[in-house]
């Protein structure tokens, strides 16, 4: 007993000492840092990486300098004409060098695919055994939702976006996303080739203080349809291609930035109809005509447009940024004119 007591004491004391050393070591090593100048951490783009609104920049997210780690939580809300995007995620920047992000997006589609659903139901009802199995279009009777997870990583390679005003070398970062779209059935209906895929990008960012302007140019290597919300690739496969993206930002005040963005999108599903139970709707034209739905396949043609936005980002302090934008996303699947308000909040720690 006596011995056990004696033995136990140093152990717990030792453990306490280790914990104390660890705690003080961590705080002394200064793993936490929020030393960037206000607004220079940027905001969170919809895939979750540090950047603008739709484009990842070469900046590392959060307010950490090379002396520490800093992270953010972000939420984006974009109610468009036929869709509403909610995306929620977190990102951490390590030593202003490396960034990891996770974002979960939900795109509610309202009544967008009701016609397709109706056609499927009608076809299913009439032909019964259209493909021998029940038709699964991924379309719910009410408010079909597309969910997508996006995991991102970014490394700052070289260059200095902010302080090297005496040269033209931008800050360069390379990064990538792995995206997992969960509504595989709907993607099949929309003829996307894949539901999961990766994309890679290289970004160059530079601030030009004499003209109060930030320029970012990104090249993204991807096969995404609508950033992956409509899957990847199309009937011709999912070969990736390089697509440019540009952000131009004007520094209005030390806490307010306005700007415009453009991101080129692909044409994997351009002009494609939708597919029901493995059959293209255009191929079903005679059946549809017999059902009195003759002009449906015409209106069910998909298109994809480049994305544009005009934004204002406000940084009341280093813990919060509020970005509001007007997003012009053009054609999304079978619906045109998807323009509307966009808001993104970022809380940094």
């Amino acid at each position: 007993m006596e011995e056990a007591k004696r033995a136990k004491f140093p152990v717990s004391k030792g453990a306490a000492l280790v914990v104390a050393m660890l705690a003080s070591g961590l705080s002394q090593a200064g793993w936490y840092d929020s030393g960037k100048v206000l607004a220079t951490g940027g905001v969170s783009m919809i895939d979750g990486a540090g950047g603008g609104g739709i484009t990842p920049w070469a900046t590392i997210t959060g307010y950490g300098t090379k002396e520490g780690i800093n992270g953010d939580l972000h939420y984006t809300y974009a109610p468009l004409a036929n869709y509403t995007l909610h995306s929620l995620g977190a990102a951490v920047g390590f030593w202003d060098r490396f960034e990891l992000s996770y974002t979960s997006s939900a795109l509610t589609t309202g009544s967008t695919f009701d016609t397709v659903g109706l056609v499927a139901d009608t076809l299913g009802g009439v032909t019964g055994s259209l493909a021998g199995t029940p038709i699964n279009t991924g379309i719910e009777p009410f408010n079909t939702t597309i969910e997508m997870e996006s995991i991102g990583a970014k490394v700052r390679v070289f260059g200095e976006a902010i302080y090297d005003s005496d040269n033209l070398i931008p800050q360069i970062a390379i990064g990538g996303f792995y995206k997992n779209n969960k509504n595989e059935d709907l993607l099949k209906t929309l003829k996307a080739d894949k539901a999961k895929d990766w994309e890679a990008y290289i970004s160059a960012t530079k601030i030009f203080f004499p003209i109060n302007t930030l320029i970012n140019i990104t090249a993204r290597y991807t096969a995404a349809n609508q950033t992956g919300l409509v899957g990847f690739g199309g009937p011709d496969g999912s070969d990736k291609e390089i697509r440019p993206e540009i952000s131009l930002a004007y520094l209005l005040r030390k806490d307010t930035v306005i700007g415009i963005e453009w991101a080129q999108h692909g044409d994997n599903l351009e002009g494609e109809s939708v597919e029901i139970a493995g059959l293209d709707l255009t191929g079903l034209q005679p059946t549809l005509e017999a059902l009195g739905l003759g002009n449906v396949s015409g209106t069910l043609t998909q298109h994809e447009s480049d994305w544009y936005d005009v934004f204002v980002a406000f940084f009341p302090n280093k813990n919060l940024s509020i970005t509001m934008a007007y997003a012009m996303l053009g054609n999304i699947t079978i619906t045109p004119d998807q323009h509307g308000f966009y808001m993104s909040l970022q809380a940094s720690f």
Binding site: D33, G35, K36, V37, L38, T65, K66, E67, E160, I162, Y163, D164, S165, D166, N167, L168, F208, F209, P210, I211, N212, L251, L252, R253, K254
Partner: protein
Amino acid sequence: MKQIFRTIAMIFVLCLAASPSFSQTGKTETYPPIDSDALEQFGGPEGVRNWVESLFYYIMLDNRINHVFREFGNIERQIYLNTQLLQLVLGGNEVEYQGASMAAAHADLGITLTQFNAVVEAAYNACERIQLTYEACNLMIAGLAPYKHAIVTR
């Protein structure tokens, strides 16, 4: 005679090597260039002096950095020298910088990027304090930013 000649040559070479380290020779070359009327936008030498004074007011209020200046600095001297330096950087040519090079002045201080950024935040506050436009303030930022390499040593 030979000895003297050698000494003169050596002094000459030393001066050449050292010259960038004690003369800040003029306007910072930035891309795109700093406006030609930058010093006027700043309110001339008087405006620069006002800005530097309020800069040190904000520096000394910032607990992240004021201890460095309290311990190693000489505020009077730094206000005096920074007033000269900023005029030059903005393109003023009627002034001479009489202080040490940025590298020499900061070499032993072990300044971090976080501390440097704190001075930049104080610089923006000082601009607001003297009612300077944000655009004029950014000309100063553009002009001083390249010194980061010499000043931040950690």
